[in-house]
Symmetry: C2
Subunit: 144 residues, 2 copies
Amino acid sequence: MEDKYPGLKLGNQLCFPLYACSREIVKKYKPFLDELDLTYTQYITMMVLWEKEQINVKELGECLYLDSGTLTPLLKKLETKGWVTRRRAREDERVLIVSLTEEGRKLRDRAAVVPEKMSCCVKLSPEEARTLYTLLYKMLGECC
Amino acid sequence: MEDKYPGLKLGNQLCFPLYACSREIVKKYKPFLDELDLTYTQYITMMVLWEKEQINVKELGECLYLDSGTLTPLLKKLETKGWVTRRRAREDERVLIVSLTEEGRKLRDRAAVVPEKMSCCVKLSPEEARTLYTLLYKMLGECC
DNA sequence: TAAAACAAAATTGCACACAATGAAATTTAC
DNA sequence: GTAAATTTCATTGTGTGCAATTTTGTTTTA
């Protein structure tokens, strides 16, 4: 009776610790990101822009595994804060190009401490972290 | 210039693939859970109840890493669907006890196929899956 | 070349998550 | 014995996520 459906036990799920862990880590980021007036999703969006300077919504969505339903309002907020600009591509008016502003670039310097601060809260060895990283990207690449 | 802050590159983050992977897998569940009229969060809640038959909100929140702000409306929905009942504990009126109904128990039989169906979409070897599972619980336990 | 097909964002609606606050019951400290 | 602190759940407000649809623009095709 107890184990009629072992696959339905929370402790036998791979997805559940993934889901819980993801949320717990994002929560850990909050105090550091609050200081920058960024949410986690806004943070990873800025991360893409710090690397690429400008990108369109479609490509950004592919980078972050997010769609326009999430990105459109988020990018408007980042625009309001003055960190990005949004404009249509001249050669194809359907495409919206998001660009980093000078203010957005400055934010990067302030954000530089976040990864260090976070690193002390991940208690895995460098090797374990690398293994985890590899397995996650394997799942992300092959299954999703 | 390019690598002024390597810690701020998306590709150097451990959190990002965790976050993306979690959402992608939950998305994979959707078609199967739709057939049961369950969301993913409702599904893991029912999973706890299928194991324990009854539990109070506080303990449920500890199991799932969720708080009452998420659970209260979710449990009301599960009650509306007829799968759980909600009542206060007589010995301590602050405590709300959630119990599985007969209908909720029946749902378990229909849900039994979900883990099988999902397993074909995780492309990790059993050993890799076990490693991932262990590392995730290590993070969840020690860091969060 | 006009209509149909396609593509990219935006919009809408629903369901979380979660911080912050509130309300009610219980426990603790004096 | 009661005021203060604590505990438990509910409520509120903000910000995602995402499916489905709409709008606008571009490309293809008959």
